[in-house]
């Protein structure tokens, strides 16, 4: 007699556990990560995120490789070839800007354009927990290019004996690498979420973010260099303000501008609060159904 059985695979009542709003937020984070990275979507959706991530890691891989090849020669010569951790961002700033302009619009705009938001808000999620889930995913993805490459550089160099001196030195640098990268990710997450919350068109949101980054730089430079405004006015630049704070996290000297660290921190906190406030106000007022 055969052991084969016909199982009823149709719809049936569910008696298992029901997880709460935290699970819903986690699900939004996971789904948004998949969307941004193009997972479970056609190949064309994977091109931009994969290329950007690759570009941000390539310099790091190259430096670690060069050190591996030349490590048997003069160590001081080798060390001089590798940039300082705070200077590494100069190699990947384009990748970061590209990623920042693309990530939040991809995560936020389609939900409003195709009115998927009404499905989200008919679930245990609220407007704010939905936004929290989206922002967390955006933050995590941006952190992939602001923390990951420098962390790889630190680990690669340390494993070959070219890292910071001693365990405490390593942990201190690790803290700076992670802290500075997360700060950059938080800064650009707030900024781009704020911009993306104002339109439901991805292309417009991406262009607006890019214009804001470039435009703020032009305004700050015009005020400072053209109209002799004090150095602090350079903190209006959205590409300079977070990197001023980043250099201070690394304890790196700044010979170009003279500003108090408290002013730099305040400016960065203000930018983050401004971007987040735009998104919060926008989503609070958004009419989903009436």
């Amino acid at each position: 007699m055969s052991d084969a059985r016909i199982l009823d695979t149709g719809y049936r009542r569910y008696t298992g556990p029901r997880l709460g709003p935290r699970h819903a937020v986690r699900s939004v984070v996971a789904s948004t990560l998949r969307r941004i990275l193009g997972l479970r979507r056609p190949a064309r959706n994977k091109i931009l995120p994969v290329l950007t991530i690759v570009f941000s890691y390539v310099p790091s891989i190259v430096f670690v490789g060069v050190v591996a090849l030349l490590s048997r020669f003069d160590s001081q010569e080798v060390e001089s070839l590798v940039p300082k951790y705070e200077d590494y961002y100069g190699f990947i700033i384009s990748a970061i800007v590209l990623f920042v302009t693309f990530v939040a619009p991809e995560a936020l705009c389609p939900d409003r354009r195709y009115r998927v938001l009404s499905l989200y808000l008919a679930s245990p999620l609220t407007r704010m927990t939905y936004l929290l889930g989206k922002a967390t995913a955006i933050f995590a993805v941006i952190a992939m290019v602001t923390v990951g490459p420098v962390l790889l550089l630190l680990l690669g160099l340390s494993l070959q004996g070219f890292g910071p001196d001693g365990f405490l030195g390593f942990m201190g640098t690790l803290g700076r690498v992670v802290g500075a990268g997360l700060m950059l990710a938080a800064f650009y997450t707030a900024l781009t979420v704020g911009v993306a919350s104002l339109t439901d068109r991805r292309a417009i949101a991406a262009a607006a973010t890019l214009l804001l980054l470039i435009g703020s730089n032009i305004v700050a430079n015009t005020l400072h260099f053209g109209l002799d405004a004090p150095d602090e006015w350079m903190l209006l630049s959205l590409t300079l303000a977070p990197f001023q704070l980043l250099r201070r996290i690394y304890g790196a000297p700044d010979f170009e501008f003279s500003m108090a660290t408290s002013t730099v921190i305040l400016a960065n906190v203000a930018w983050i609060a401004f971007g987040a406030a735009i998104a919060v106000v926008r989503y609070r007022r958004l009419q989903v159904t009436r």
């Binding site: 009542r13 819903a24 009404s118 679930s123 159904t289 009436r290």
Partner: protein
């Protein structure tokens, strides 16, 4: 044990600017399928928004499964499945991924959500199509994906807002069949919002009729329709089976001074019941015309009668 109210409203009001969308609505929605009937702009979608806790009532209160949806929004919404009136599916995501994600955010563990998304899509007839992006699907298929996403997490209540919008007659028939199946065979309580009277009448056990923000009638459909009209329904036939018996009887009754009209189906006549003598008159007229009497009964109200008597009282008052 008294019947459990799934949704209860007491003098609930909601205003949008100068528009009073809901004006002191009081009703109870019980188990089974309940139609939320009203013309466009009657306040149906606003009421669904209040049930979901998306809006705070300006006055009165609403309870869903015994809880205030505005105060306990996440808990209440976890027990609700919702299919909005408008399109709400991301076009570049597969039907399965949409339904799975909606089930997950309603609290189902990832593995369960995965399985139940497939089951729900099979249930609505999209088993083979479930991996297709929703943007490549027809309107009817997308409506069914929305229905699947509303039931995948096994909610206590399913809210369907105009689920037959944009469907052709065949798709509409299929959708109504699905709603009946989900409500009666799977045992989910459904609130079906619609402006189509026959649709509500065909699938619903109960009805809440809205007119310009007011609840004009609500209750079990069989109770509302149980109200006898002041009319008789007579069904006659000719001995040989030839058509025209109804028209012949109606003509004879009118000639005898009684208001009568053919009822649309051959052989059926609706006669105004102006006293018990009308029964005798009908019997005698049928006999005089040598017709066969198949049926003679008080005509029960249809949902159309209930709706018209509720929403346009001026035309029906003496």
């Amino acid at each position: 044990m008294p019947p459990v109210a799934v949704v209860r409203a007491e003098a609930a009001s909601k205003r949008w600017g100068s528009t009073l969308a809901l004006d002191g609505a009081s009703f109870e929605i019980g188990k089974g399928i309940t139609g939320l009937l009203g013309a466009n702009g009657a306040g149906k979608t606003t009421l669904l928004g209040l049930v979901l806790g998306m809006h705070r009532p300006d006055g009165g209160k609403i309870e869903v499964l015994g809880q205030d949806p505005w105060t306990f929004g996440p808990q209440v919404r976890a027990a609700i499945g919702y299919s909005p009136e408008h399109d709400c599916l991301p076009p570049d995501v597969s039907a399965h991924d949409v339904v799975r994600h909606v089930a997950e955010i309603h609290g189902l563990p990832a593995r369960e959500a995965q399985t139940r998304a497939s089951d729900a899509l099979y249930e609505v007839g999209l088993g083979e199509e479930r991996m297709r992006p929703t943007g490549t699907m027809s309107t009817g298929q997308r409506q069914r994906v929305k229905l699947a996403s509303a039931i995948a997490h096994d909610p206590a209540i399913v809210l369907l807002d105009e689920p037959t919008n944009g469907l052709d007659p065949v798709q509409r028939e299929h959708m109504l069949h699905l709603i009946r199946h989900i409500g009666h065979d799977l045992g989910l309580d459904i609130v079906l919002s619609s402006h189509l009277l026959d649709e509500v009448e065909r699938v619903s056990d109960g009805v809440v009729i809205l007119d310009a923000g007011h609840v004009v009638r609500s209750g079990r459909l069989d109770e509302l329709r149980a109200t006898d009209t002041a009319e008789l329904l007579v069904e006659v036939d000719r001995p040989g089976g030839e058509p025209g018996a109804g028209e012949q009887l109606a003509g004879a009754l009118v000639a005898a001074g009684v208001a009568a009209r053919p009822a649309g189906v051959d052989g059926r006549v609706v006669v105004a019941l102006e006293g018990d003598v009308v029964y005798d008159l009908v019997r005698d007229t049928v006999d005089d015309l040598s017709l066969v009497l198949r049926r003679l009964e008080r005509r029960r109200a249809s949902l159309e009668d209930v709706y018209l008597s509720s929403s346009a009282p001026a035309e029906w008052s003496p």
